[in-house]
């Protein structure tokens, strides 16, 4: 890496350190932080919870970063794909009686095909076009998805009651069973995709296209096909994220919007197109949000600021993110 690259990385690291220290400092000043064992136990619980949350966030972000990395398109409908995943899982659970995790076997292929269709019909026109085109197309797609789902399912909140119990990790730290299961699933799926990208020929082709599509074409890679596969994969990952959401939280047609913004923040933090970066970014965001909520007075209202603040500062200091290259 060149010198300015390294410098901006250090700068970003310093900023992140400050960002994480901030809740502690504010908490100490406001009196919400105590130094005793009980409070440390609470802190650990919150951090653990943040890591688990982050794992699920990371899954949303990974799909987005793939699309952004390979095609330079910003998918504003990503949250809606997650929402779609939640509804598909819900339907399989309540109408087909299928366990939410097993239903992934059904929903993932459907999601993949959906992604391929979206790419073929809509997004191929946006590759190489100015970013507004991709943004608007996906935004319109997202809106259409929200209102179609609303028409079918109404805006009533749904959720899947699944594994409601708790797991006691230590005497002070308890974690929800369904949260643990979600995290485990997220890890498994992320690992699977990571191995796919790293080891298989197709995966390498995807990474090559992300680095430089023209050179990839020259090397004989069918770039058009890669695009289809990328969006299909991203949609599948989003839907998997949605399944995990459906067993933990309530959702309705409009909950996807928040996920899209969080995913953006994570993608920026981790580095456009960087898979591991997205995973790391997801974990970091999950933890930071929980720290803010715990220690800053009225912090829960400011949780969104954590995502946007991170995003903006990363963009200003080092647009390439943690793992990306410093971009001019």
């Amino acid at each position: 890496m060149e010198r300015s690259d390294v410098r901006s990385l250090y700068l970003l690291g310093a900023f992140l350190a400050c960002a994480y220290a901030l809740p502690f400092l504010v908490g100490a000043w406001a009196g919400t932080v105590r130094a005793d064992a009980a409070w440390l136990g609470i802190l650990t619980t919150v951090v653990v919870s943040g890591v688990m949350q982050g794992g699920v966030y990371a899954m949303f972000a990974v799909g987005l970063t793939l699309i952004f990395g390979v095609m330079r398109i910003i998918n504003a409908a990503h949250g809606e794909m997650v929402m779609m995943g939640a509804y598909l899982t819900w339907v399989s659970f309540f109408y087909l009686g299928v366990d939410p995790l097993l239903s992934l076997a059904l929903t993932l292929p459907v999601a993949f095909l959906f992604g391929v269709a979206v790419q073929k019909l809509l997004l191929n026109a946006a590759v190489g076009a100015p970013e507004l085109t991709g943004l608007l197309i996906t935004f319109g797609l997202g809106l259409t998805m929200i209102y179609t789902v609303e028409l079918i399912f109404t805006t009533d909140f749904r959720t899947i009651p699944y594994a409601p119990g708790t797991i006691q990790l230590t005497s002070t730290i308890a974690v929800g069973r369904n949260r643990m299961i979600s995290f485990a699933m997220a890890v498994v799926i992320s690992l699977a995709v990571y191995l796919f990208l790293k080891l298989t020929r197709l995966g390498k082709a995807v990474r090559a296209t992300a680095l430089n599509a023209e050179v990839a074409m020259v090397c004989g890679i069918n770039v058009r096909r890669i695009y289809l596969i990328t969006t299909g994969l991203a949609a599948a990952l989003a839907v998997a994220g949605g399944a995990l959401v459906s067993i933990q939280f309530g959702f309705n047609p409009e909950t996807g919007v928040v996920y899209t913004l969080q995913a953006f923040a994570i993608v920026i933090l981790g580095g456009r197109g960087n898979y591991v970066g997205a995973l790391v970014g997801g974990l970091m965001l999950g933890v930071l949000e929980n720290l803010v909520s715990l220690m800053i007075p009225n912090g829960t209202a400011m949780v969104e600021l954590a995502a946007y603040g991170l995003m903006i500062f990363v963009l200003l200091i080092r647009p390439g993110g943690l793992m990306g290259v410093k971009e001019g």
Partner: protein, 312 residues
């Protein structure tokens, strides 16, 4: 463009303005509101176009300025008893300052990064407004004392619209505009030619921030109740972008056309097909972005109806 053509365009705009000025007394209150919002969207689309169309920096968070203008007006009128017209000036000033504060760092980013950063900025502004309870009443929203007749706000918006059109036209046809276009086409080359890109970009950005703020203030005074989600609504930015794109980004007539057509179409479908219209709107956005990215003006140029020029 020759002087005669400029004069002719000016006359046309003045004629429209005159007609619109005479209109309100003949219309029902509902239609007056409709016209007011149409004019508001013209203002918004034109402003957005200055930074995103002329200069090529697609802003996805312009609604932040609209919201700021609305809140400044609401706070000053409801909590401090100001006369509303003065609050508009203050709103414009605050928006300009915020524009400089946000613009200076963020305009260093390129393309999609700028767009996302602006989106983050808009959402961040919304959260700040919601959390800063003591000043903004947070999630409670602000209710303004109801004293206006719908005529005052109508005329205010009309005046704003004419002003915005004039400014956009002036920018588009001046050397300033040419330089903005140069920045859009190739910033490096523009700088090499001696154009201080940073200054020009910032100027365009601030200019594009001021008019939405005033529009937001007028709207707050008309609607008499605002809260963070309603004035920092992402879909307003989308509407601005879509209208400009529909009409033709980077032109003057484009955003005007796009705003009028889209808003009218939206209102008609909403009134007549309340449930389906949102889906139709979503599909419409997809179709326009997919098939008509250069907008109506671009289409007209392709068809040869219109002379290919820099700005119309």
């Amino acid at each position: 463009m020759t002087w005669r053509e400029h004069l002719r365009n000016l006359a046309l705009v003045a004629l429209c303005g005159f007609a619109l000025a005479l209109l309100p007394s003949a219309l029902s209150v509902y239609l007056r509101s409709f016209m007011l919002f149409t004019m508001m969207y013209v203002v918004l689309a034109l402003s957005w176009n200055i930074i995103s169309g002329f200069t090529g920096y697609t802003s996805f968070g312009h609604v932040a300025f609209y919201g700021i203008g609305a809140y400044v007006c609401a706070i000053l009128v409801a909590d401090y008893g100001w006369f509303w017209l003065y609050t508009l000036a203050v709103g414009a000033g605050v928006a300009a300052l915020v524009g400089i504060a946000i613009g200076y760092p963020v305009l260093r980013l390129k393309g999609p990064y700028f767009a996302i950063a602006m989106l983050g900025a808009a959402e961040g502004t919304r959260v700040v407004v919601a959390v800063w309870d003591s000043l903004t009443h947070g999630g409670l929203g602000i209710s303004l004392p109801s004293a206006e007749t719908s005529m005052e706000t109508y005329y205010a918006m009309l005046a704003l619209m004419l002003l915005t059109i004039a400014v956009a036209y002036a920018v588009g046809h001046s050397r300033f505009g040419v330089r903005l276009n140069a920045i859009r086409e190739d910033e490096g080359a523009a700088e090499a030619l001696g154009i201080n890109a940073t200054l020009y970009k910032l100027a365009a950005f601030v200019l594009s921030a001021v008019f939405p703020a005033v529009a937001g203030g007028i709207q707050a005074y008309k609607v008499l109740y605002i809260d963070p989600p309603s004035v920092f609504f992402v879909q307003i930015t989308i509407a601005m972008a879509l209208m400009s794109m529909l009409g033709g980004k980077g032109t003057v007539i484009g955003p005007i056309l796009g705003a009028v057509l889209l808003y009218t179409a939206q209102e008609l479908t909403w009134v007549n097909f309340p449930t389906a219209h949102l889906i139709a709107y979503g599909l419409f956005i997809v179709l326009v972005a997919r098939f008509m990215p250069r907008g109506l003006v671009g289409f007209a140029i392709d068809q040869g109806w219109v002379r290919k020029g820099m700005v119309h």
